[in-house]
Structures are given as C-alpha cells and as structure tokens.
C-alpha cells in the first residue's frame, strides 16, 4: 500500500499546519533566545555580546542548574514508579464499577487538575503551615509532634513536600490518561481474555497493558517532560528555596531573566534546558523501544 501512505501531497498537507504554528510561536522565540544568550542583556536597553560566557558559567560554576536537574529527575522517578501505577490501577477499578458511580468518581478525582495552580499552591501552603496547618495539627494530636516539621521551609523536608504537591495535583491527569487509554482496548480483546479463563491480573499483564503500550509510552514521555518543566507550583510555594534546595530549571531561568535582570543568562539556561530535555526525550523513547512509527 505504498501509494496510500506514500502520498506526498497528503502528508505535506497534514503536517504543514502544525509545522507552521510551532515554527512561528516556538522555534522563532527560541532562536531569539539563543541569540540573547550570547549577550549580557538585562532585558531592555543596551547590551554587549559575551559569546559563550553564560554557558561556560552555567556548566562549570552553577551548582543550582545541576541541582535543579537532579530535583526534576527525582520527581520523574516518583511519578513513574508511584503515581502512574496507582493512577492506572484506579483507572482500571473505575472502569469496572457502574457507569454512574464511575462518572461521579472520575469527575471528583479530576478536581485538583481543574483548579488553577495558584489555588493548589495556596491550599498546600496552608495545610503545611507548621503552626496552624491541619497536617501538623493531626500529627500533634496523635502524639507525633517530633515529625511535625515546617514542611516547606525545612531543608530536609522541603523537596519532599513540593514533590508531594506536584504528584497530588498531577494524579487527576494520570487518571484521565489511563482511563481513556483503557478505552482504546477493543472489546474483542478484552472478551478474549475472559474466554481464556485467565484471572484478571493475568489479563491485564499479558494482554491489556501490552496492547496499551503505545498509549502508556506517550503518557510516560509527557510525564518526563512535565517533570522537567515544572514551574508554577514550585514558584508559588517555596520559590526554589530554602537555599535553592527545591529549585527547578523553569523557576531558576525565570528568576534570572526577569527578577535578577540577567536576561542573557536566563536565556542561556533556557537553551540548555531545551537541549537537555530533548536529550532526555530521546533516551526515554529508546528505552521504551521504537517502532518504525517512531515516537
């Protein structure tokens, strides 16, 4: 069927709109950013070209950049190993209960995803408040005062607290992805597993999950990139603190470019971030195995 899928005109027509939009709104600004990254511009007024000085500093003398990447990596691991499986299991359970109950639960579980990140951040700052927050109040009430930390400002717990907030907020999304992902499984395949007499766990592991593998791959890639790109929830809770311990690259580049007036430096961070993120994406895809469809 070379003719059908080899049709140049059709493939060009399908691909061109997306290509144009992405070039117009994303590639062009990154190009600008790459140019600015070679300067010491403060965002307005005059500037001097400094070549690769910003890059040299980031790669050799900026521990915050590396810590930010490490934090994203930790978040990735927890997302993939804990959040996703739990969401998948819940999606599976929801697909087996009555339609009405399922619909109600699904809407309710999706609430955190619907709220703006500002609301989520304010809520958790309130819950984690060491003196008045409900978490510590409960801990003290059950006699666990020793672990009633100042969750978001204590250097030992800050990263964990921030990661918890991100995982909690993203849970509704993971649930959505996997629930609709389960919907891609055609009925015959699902029926076939029961005809076989296999237990439900076997059915999932041997048949359903492998069938859904492309969908799962897509979700994992999205997860990985989202973890790298995290910005608002960190910015609104710890702002990368205490002492840069909870820093993430998007927050850091924002602070450098817009707050500290180091616009050139911030743009160098952006460019490096794009390079790192693309690299990570390729690695993940390789790990997940590639078909000739790629991605």
């Amino acid at each position: 069927m070379k003719g059908l899928f080899g049709n140049e005109k059709v493939s060009a027509a399908l691909v061109l709109p997306g290509l144009l939009v992405i070039i117009f709104s994303l590639v062009v600004p990154v190009g600008f950013a790459a140019y600015y990254s070679l300067t010491n511009w403060q965002g307005f007024g005059k500037f001097h070209v400094v070549g690769l000085a910003n890059y040299r500093q980031i790669l050799s003398a900026d521990p915050v950049f590396w810590r930010a990447l490490m934090n994203a990596f930790i978040l990735m691991v927890i997302t993939i190993v804990i959040q996703n499986p739990v969401a998948f299991a819940l999606a599976a359970v929801l697909s087996h209960i009555t339609e009405k109950a399922s619909r109600i639960f699904r809407t309710v579980f999706f609430v955190p995803a619907v709220l703006s990140l500002v609301v989520v951040a304010k809520l958790w700052v309130s819950i984690f408040n060491p003196t008045y927050g409900i978490l510590n109040k409960v801990l003290v009430a059950v006699g666990l005062k020793s672990i009633a930390f100042s969750w978001l400002s204590n250097p030992h717990t800050a990263l964990g607290a921030v990661i918890w907030i991100i995982i909690w907020q993203g849970f509704g999304w993971a649930l959505l992805f996997y629930y609709t992902g389960l919907m891609t499984v055609p009925r015959e395949i699902e029926e076939a597993t029961r005809v076989d007499g296999a237990g439900w766990l076997q059915a999932y592991l041997r048949v359903i999950i492998p069938f859904m593998f492309p969908v799962i791959s897509a979700v994992l890639v999205i997860d990985v990139i989202s973890c790298l790109k995290q910005m608002e929830l960190i910015f609104l809770t710890t702002a990368g603190g205490p002492g840069m311990l909870t820093q993430f690259v998007s927050v850091y580049l924002y602070q450098k470019a817009f707050v500290a007036g180091q616009y050139g430096y911030g743009n160098a961070l952006s460019v490096l971030f794009v390079i790192v993120a693309v690299g990570v994406t390729l690695v993940v895809q390789r790990l997940l195995g590639r078909n000739d469809d790629s991605l």
Binding site: F44, V125, F128, S150, P155, G241, A260, Q262
Partner: protein, 420 residues
C-alpha cells in the same frame, strides 16, 4: 450665500469634531484593585482630571508587582511604554530605565510648590536629572496589638534585647510574637539593614560598601548579621517565616494571632480595614524599631526611603499633557490618600481629627526622625545584587549559612555588582 453657509457649516462641524478629538493618556501601575485603597484614589484623581480637561481619556493597565515590572520592561524594549506610569525609584528599577533613555527628565522647579518631604525628590535624581515625582514616604516600623501586649503583660520595648525577651510571654498565650512577609525576602533584608545601623549608627556604611570603599565583611556588618541570627532564633518568628507570604502574614496579625507586624506606613489602613474585627482595629498601633543596648544606632534613626513614583515615558506623544497630569496628581494625591488612609504621601500631610491613633503615631515617628537611611541596600545595587541578597537572607533566616558566610556572600555579590 449658499457657499458661505456651507463653508460655515463645514467649519462648525470641523470645530465640533476638533473639540471631540480625544487624546488618550495611557497609564500603567500596580494598583489592580480600583475599588479601594490607592487604586480608588487614582481613579478619583483621573475622574477629576478628565472633568477638568474635556477631550482627554485615560486608559490604565494594572498588574500586580512582578507581572507589572516584567511588562514594563517588555514595553520598554518594544518601544510601547505607557505615557505616564507608576514605578519605583530604586537604582535596581528606575535607574536602568533612565540610563537607557526611556524616562523623560523633569524640571525640579515645576514641583517645588507641592511640599515634598526633604530628600524625596532627590531620590529620583540620577546623573543630576529628576526623573519622576515621589508618591509615598516609606519607613520601617513595628505595628502591634495593644490588647495582646496587655494580655501578655508586656510594654512597648525600646531595646532589641527587651523585644527578644518578650517572645516566651506571647508564645505562652499561643500567640506568634512577630509576623512579616518572609516569602518575598525584601522585608528580611530591610530588617538586616536596620540591625546593622543599630550596631554602627551610620546609614551611609551600606553605600560605602557598595562603592567598595568598605566591605560587607567589616566587623560592623558581621555583628549586624550575628544580631540578625539572634533575632531570628529568639522565638519571635514562626518556623515558616520564609514561606509566609504578604497576605498570610498580614491576615495573621489582623486576626489577632500575632502580636506584632513589621512593615511600612502603607499598612496604616489596618486600623480601618473592615475585614478585621472592631477589637483589632481599636487596638492597632505602632512603635519605633528598637535599638541595641550597646549599639551606636539611636531610636530616632529611621530606615526611610521613597519607593513609589510616577514617571513620564520619553517617547510619549503627549508630553505637555503628561506633565499637566503629574502636577495635578501632585496636588491632589496627598489630600485624598491621607483622607482615605490609602498611602503615606511623600508630601506634607494635613492631619485630621478623624485620624486613627496609628496614623497619628506614624506621622510622629516620621516627624521625630533625626536621621534617615534613604533607599534600602537591596535597591541600591544592581538587580542581580538584589536577587542575591534576597536569596542569601533567606538562607541566613533558615539557618543554612552562618552570619560570617552570609557577609562573605553579600560582599562577593557587591564586588560583582560594582563591576557591572
């Protein structure tokens, strides 16, 4: 005859159209809420100005602080600045705009008759030119709840040591002794400034260090940092100081869960804020930042600066109108702002009988001041220095670095800033 009539008619129409021709004054500020406070005052000034100047329309873009600064910078680069906009006078904010030629220099003589507090107009002078008119007098005080003080059996402290000793008394009652906006860090940096002055009695030391005639690792600064650490560890602040933001800390004070609130005079509205209880409103007052027992700083040395100002874009097409607006603003603002407790003007205030006790105290504190600091240290350097300073003070407050390490880091940042 007909021709003349037609010509006359055309002239009349043209005249009418000309009179209708609207000039739009584009403005920008960080006062998003136009229904109360400062935003409402500006709306009133604008309404009065439009009434007195038919044919003029005013359109304002308002955003909260951070987005506002970002957008102004973007507008500057894109050459689309508003005609008149509210900004800050600091070297971290106004100076870069002025240096790049985006702000119109003003004639100081034009504003001589508006009773500006001495030093206020000067804070907008760069390279010998005046770049904006100051709108607020900002100074550092400690607000307190008189009832909570009485309940804990304490009186207004005059020394820092006395203040630190009060902490356990409040905590015994389940009250947080002091709250402030630790999340944004700048209040913490200002507290550090004040403590340094209480040690060395000399506000000019900060600028000297920035000019590299002195160092931030000199003994007086290190002692100031040590005093800061002592202040932080005295139990006066809640554990979550560095994540407690402006709104949360203000509300804790207003809900009478905290006895003191370190902030500037713009919070005199606490006494008339309908969100809070009558009891709180009746009991809120302020006192001067205490001194160190063995320090050189005196109680009437006041950390005071003039933060807010209004400037004119150098690319504005209506410069005369803009100037007219500024003058009108200068005339009406101190009266309206004081009446509505919206802001503490940088001009002579006419006190009213209806003034709240805290408002009267604030006027007195400013009036008593024998020496003022001028712009706060974080705003005297480059934006990078400010960002660094705020990061380091947060680390110091969290106990992640020592006083000595803090001073070394500040000094290194100042060194970098001096080369830029």
């Amino acid at each position: 005859m007909k021709r003349i009539a037609v010509a006359l008619l055309a002239l009349c129409i043209a005249g009418a159209l000309g009179a209708q021709a609207k000039v739009t004054l584009k403005m920008g500020d960080n006062l998003s809420d136009r229904s109360t406070g400062w935003g409402a005052v500006v709306e009133q000034i604008n309404t009065e100005f439009k009434a007195a100047n038919p044919g003029v329309d005013i359109v304002t873009e308002s955003y909260p602080d951070q987005p506002y600064q970002e957008k102004i910078k973007i507008y500057a680069t894109a050459k689309q600045l508003p005609d008149v906009f509210k900004y800050w006078s600091f070297s971290t904010l106004l100076k870069p705009l002025a240096d790049s030629g985006f702000v119109l220099p003003l004639n100081k003589a034009d504003f001589a008759k508006y009773n500006y507090v001495p030093g206020s107009l000067e804070s907008n002078v760069w390279g010998g030119k005046l770049y904006g008119i100051p709108v607020s007098a900002d100074f550092w005080v400690i607000y307190y709840n008189q009832k909570l003080f009485k309940d804990a059996g304490v009186t207004v402290p005059t020394t820092i040591e006395d203040l630190e000793a009060m902490a356990p008394k409040f905590k015994a009652k389940g009250i947080i002794p002091i709250v402030t906006d630790g999340k944004d860090a700048w209040p913490l940096s200002i507290i550090y400034d004040v403590l340094c002055e209480r040690v060395n009695g000399d506000f000019s030391r900060q600028q000297a260090a920035l000019d590299r005639k002195a160092k931030f690792t000199d003994p007086d600064f290190v002692e100031g940092a040590r005093q800061y650490v002592k202040f932080m560890q005295s139990g006066l602040f809640a554990d979550d100081l560095t994540v407690s933001d402006y709104g949360a800390s203000r509300n804790l004070f207003g809900q009478e869960k905290a006895a003191m609130y370190i902030m500037g005079p713009w919070e005199m509205g606490l006494a008339t804020d309908p969100s809070f209880s009558d009891e709180f409103r009746a009991n809120v007052n302020a006192f001067k930042f205490p001194v160190l027992k063995n320090g050189k700083g005196k109680i009437d040395d006041l950390e005071a600066w003039f933060g807010g100002n209004y400037v004119i874009s150098s690319a504005s097409k209506n410069k005369d109108l803009d100037l007219k607006y500024l003058k009108y603003y200068a005339e009406r603002f101190p009266v309206l702002a004081w009446q509505q407790h919206a802001a503490f003007p940088a001009q002579k205030i006419t006190t009213l009988d209806s003034d709240t006790p805290v408002a009267k105290t604030l006027v007195k504190i400013l009036g008593d001041a024998k020496m003022t600091s001028g712009t706060t240290t974080i705003d005297r350097g480059t934006p990078q220095f400010k960002d660094d300073h705020q990061n380091f003070i947060r680390e110091l407050s969290s106990g992640l670095i020592t006083a000595e390490e803090f001073c070394k880091k500040i000094d290194a940042s100042a060194e970098t800033a001096s080369k830029q």
